[in-house]
Structure formats: C-alpha cells, structure tokens
C-alpha cells in the first residue's frame, strides 16, 4: 500500500463513515423488543447474504454455546471454525481462519504481452514504468468492473509479482476473539493480510477503519450502546464494493436477562421479521388494476 495515500484514504473512509452514520441515525426506529445477550461468528448482507452463524442467545441468563458453523456454498467467504456463547450479560466469539476471496488472483489470465513485459523487466529503472490499466476478469466478487488499477501496487514490478505469484486470498484473518461483559468488551485479532501483505490492525481502540480501498474497507471494533442497556461489539466489518457486500465477523451483544415471562402472556401480533411496522401505519395499498399497453421489457 502506498504510504502517502493512507491519510487521504483514511479521511475518505471517515467521511463515508459519517455519511453512513447519519443515514443510520436518521432511519425510522423499529418497535422495541427484548434484546437478549447473543453472539455470532459470521453474517453478511449483499449479493451473498449469510444468516448469523453459529448463533447463540440467552434470554434467561443461562450460558448457551454453539459451534454449528453453517456457511452456504459460496465463492466469497470461507471460515474454518467458530464458537459463540451468550449468558448473563456476557457473550463471546472465537473465530479461526477466515478467507475472503480465496484464490482471487490465481484465476486472472495474465495477457501474454504483459507476461513478456514482466519477464524482461530491467534490473533498474523499472519502478518508473507505468502500470497498465487492464480489465480483470470476473473475480466472483461483488466489485464493480475491477481492473489492474484497483490493485494495491505502486509500480510495474509489484504488479508482475502480484499477478505471476498470486496470493491465496483477497483478505485473510487467522483468528478473531471478541467478548463483552456488561457495557464493556474487547477485540483480539491475529494477523490480517490484504492480497498477501500483512496489515497492522489497531484492534484495541474503538471503531477504526482500515482502508484497503478500492477493494474493501475494514472497520475494526465497532461498539454500540443502546438506550435499552444492551451493548454490542463487532470484531470486523468488511465492506466490499462500496456496500455491495458487507461481512460482519465476530459480534457479541451483552444484555441483562429478561424478567420472567408472565404466566398467561397476551397474544402477540404476527411478527414481521423482514418488514418492521412503521410508527404511523397508513392504509393498505390497493391491488393494482392491470393496464393494457405495450412496453418492451428485457424478456
């Protein structure tokens, strides 16, 4: 990564963060529910959605654990193992060997002319040669039209090295530990590699963003303290393709146990997991009347 770009990139990601925060903060608030202590190792939104897995929650304060990691068959993310537990205002996650974009550059077909150029690079002076802007084939990742210009290399020899001896993944993380107790928590992260290069992780401070832009932004140690007293800490949030895919790794939520349920609870309305009801419910929209017309669609 180019050193002089780091402050600029970090500033840009900070701006993005504020915009995102503003949008989130201005979203309508859903109905209040009892939030239990809970923990999950992996979840994702976007082109490859992944439900929280493994997932554990504790409404009554008794400790519950799970190691049942179930990832859908996908080309984007692999995880070797994850264990989660949740209990009395406490939760924790252990996660091992996370790979995002496995073999992503191994599948790039390097044009013969570039191979030839790479093979005949002069011993000195090659650092000043321009980096060719070549389109990369579909990497199986939700990134908009990637090209060699998107790769974090600063000269042609580095590009040759990256394409001819490709790293094993876009991102690799060997271990993540996250825990919370009450309204405090912590994150430990093992080594993080971006396209084979080790990146320093300031994991012990809150909400730090590591720019690996334009490929990804990685936010470490996000913390949320809610008015209902619950507290959530998330180890890493990986944003690929500017929101096209958002992967969350190792998230723990701490909350006091809920009170004992009443003997005869009143019936609850049908839950709407995907569509929280708005605060002022307008009338139900009408069933449309088909219109006879001609409009060519994509078939």
């Amino acid at each position: 990564m180019r050193r002089h770009l780091v402050p600029t990139a970090l500033t840009l990601t900070a701006v993005t963060g504020v915009v995102a925060f503003s949008l989130v903060a201005s979203s309508p608030v859903g109905n209040a529910t009892v939030r239990p202590s809970s923990a999950y190792a992996v979840s994702a939104d976007g082109q490859v959605p992944i439900e929280k897995t493994p997932y554990a929650e504790s409404l009554d304060g008794k400790r519950r654990s799970s190691s049942a990691l179930e990832l859908p068959d996908n080309p984007l993310l692999s995880v070797r193992a994850g264990t989660v537990s949740a209990g009395n205002d406490a939760a924790s996650v252990e996660l091992f060997d996370v790979t995002v974009g496995p073999d992503v550059l191994s599948r790039v077909e390097v044009p013969p002319e570039l191979k030839q150029t790479c093979a005949s690079l002069p011993a000195t002076g090659a650092d000043d040669l321009p980096i060719p802007d070549l389109p990369l084939p579909d990497l199986g990742l939700p990134l908009p039209a990637p090209s060699t210009a998107d790769l974090p290399v600063k000269n042609l020899p580095e590009l040759c090295n990256l394409l001819l001896t490709p790293p094993s993944s876009l991102l690799g993380i060997d271990a993540v530990n996250v825990w919370c107790t009450g309204d405090d928590g912590g994150v430990d992260i093992g080594s993080l590699t971006v396209l084979g290069q080790k990146v320093a992780v300031p994991a012990t401070e809150e909400s730090v963003t590591i720019p690996a832009a334009p490929l990804a932004t990685i936010t470490v140690n996000e913390r949320t303290q809610r008015p209902d007293g619950s507290f959530t800490i998330t180890g890493l949030t990986i944003n690929l393709g500017d929101g096209a895919e958002v992967i969350r790794l190792a998230s723990a939520t701490c909350a006091p146990p809920a009170g004992k349920p009443k003997p005869a609870p009143t019936p609850q309305p049908t839950p709407q997991p995907t569509l929280p009801a708005p605060l002022d419910q307008p009338p139900v929209a009408p069933i449309p009347t088909p219109v006879e017309t001609h409009h060519p669609v994509t078939g």
Partner: protein, 260 residues
C-alpha cells in the same frame, strides 16, 4: 494471537477524527435546522423520472439490500424530486406511469420522504416533500435470488410461496439491489405471456431492448424449462401460479434482488 497497538496508525487517524467531528457537527446542525418554505420550482424545466429516462444526478440508494417499513407513496400531482431535503430539485415525477405511480419510501425525515425512482441508473433515489402525496402500506415483499434462481413472496413477514424462476444470463444479469413493482400491464403483443410486471430497474448491460429502455420485469413464460435457469436478458420469468399471486401485490412493493 496478539493485541495490536493503536499508535501504529495514529497520524492519519487524527486527521480522520477531525473530519468526523466537523462533519458530525454539520450533520447535527442539518438535523436540527428548521425547514423554510420551499422556493417555487419550474416543473417544465425538469426531466420526468420514468422507466424511459436517464437522470445521472439522482442520488444512489445508500442501502441497496435493506428492507423498508413497507410505506409507499403516490404523488397526486406532478411533483419535483430533490437531491436532499431542502436542496435542489433535479427531476419530477408524474402521478401515472403505466398505471398510478406508487414509489417505496426508503427513508424519511421531518416533512420529506426518500423514494426509489424508476429512471436509470439503477438504484436511483430522490426526496419528495411530504405534501400532495397519498400514503399507503404494502404488506408484501418480493425476494428474487439469482443464485438459487428462485422468487419468494412474503406477506406480513410470512412466506406465501417460493417458485423456481428464470433469471438473467451471465452476460445479461438481473441487476442486484432493491427495486420495486412499477406497473401491472397486459401486453397483447406478447401472446404467450401477456401479463408483465415492470420493475423500477433496468438491465445493467443492455441500454435498449426491443425498442424499449431495457426495463426489467417479472412475467410468465410458456415453457417450464426456463424456470430455475439463468437464461433471460434480465427479466425474471415465473410460473403461472406465481404470476397470479404477484398480480395481487400493490404497486410500489419492494423487490429485493440478491445473489443468494
């Protein structure tokens, strides 16, 4: 395993934090500020947001895979569309498109709603003043999964059905993200599958198709071999039973397309 150190990247972070503080303050001022009466807008100078239009200035959907509260709005008259609350008008929206125009609300603030728009590029949004709008709620949600090539229909969070669907081929994909049911039409020129439900999205690879703007739609198909295949030019082909159910879904209903 080790604990990393904060000071490894301290210099850049100070600048970033300063920007955060400044922009945070701006955001707070923006939220707390009072809205003055809107200046008059000459609607004749604005492009109408429809499936035929391309409006590059439209702000893009910041959360293209998120759900909504189900609120949909219908402009009773031709209405200006703004880039942000109290900002500039960049387009207008008409009360009818194929039928009445109903747009899904993805965000709202005092006196304003942010809606998805039917014009190009995909994921276009705009803000409407919350006046002269009819409000309603769609209890439905349509999910299209291009990976498993299925379509799911939900009502009040309960799944009414899941069907195999024909989706876009690799070179002409069905665009991922959230869009909405724009119309319900019967097109007699399509003798084999005349019922067509145009969406607010367009093919990302075909600028035009069959003389149209590349509008993506949900419709039927006469032979069942296409269901469960990545075969179309972007549209979502569904079995007759699914189409019958989908015809009952209100316009403006959210359609979430992902690669699952």
């Amino acid at each position: 395993m080790r604990r990393s150190r904060w000071d490894e990247r301290g210099g850049g972070s100070v600048g970033a934090l300063a920007v955060l503080v400044v922009l945070g303050a701006v955001a707070v001022v923006g939220v707390l500020g009072n809205r003055d009466d809107l200046p008059a807008v000459d609607l004749t100078t604005l492009v109408s947001s429809s499936t035929h239009a391309t409006i590059p200035d439209a702000p893009l959907d910041p959360q293209p895979y998120a759900g909504t509260g189900g609120v949909v709005v219908h402009p009773r008259t031709e209405t200006a569309v703004y880039t942000a609350p109290d900002a500039d008008a960049f387009a207008k929206v008409a009360p009818t498109q194929f039928g009445p125009t109903w747009l899904p609300v993805v965000e709202q603030t005092d006196g304003w709603v942010r809606v998805l728009l039917p014009s190009k590029p995909n994921r276009s949004t705009g803000w409407l003043p919350d006046e002269d709008l009819d409000r309603a709620t769609s209890p439905y949600l349509i999910r299209v999964h291009t990976g498993s090539r299925t379509l799911e229909l939900f009502r009040q969070g309960r799944r009414l059905g899941v069907w195999k669907a024909g989706v876009g081929a690799r070179k002409t994909p069905t665009p991922p993200g959230r869009t909405f049911l724009l119309g319900s039409i019967v097109d007699d020129r399509r003798s084999a599958s005349p019922v067509v439900l145009p969406l607010g999205a367009h093919s990302p690879t075909l600028d035009t198709f069959g003389g149209g703007p590349g509008t993506v739609a949900i419709h039927g198909w006469p032979s069942p071999d296409v269901f469960g295949a990545a075969i179309s030019a972007g549209c979502v082909r569904v079995p007759k039973k699914a189409l019958t159910e989908l015809q009952k879904v209100p316009l403006g209903t959210l359609v979430l397309i992902d690669g699952k």
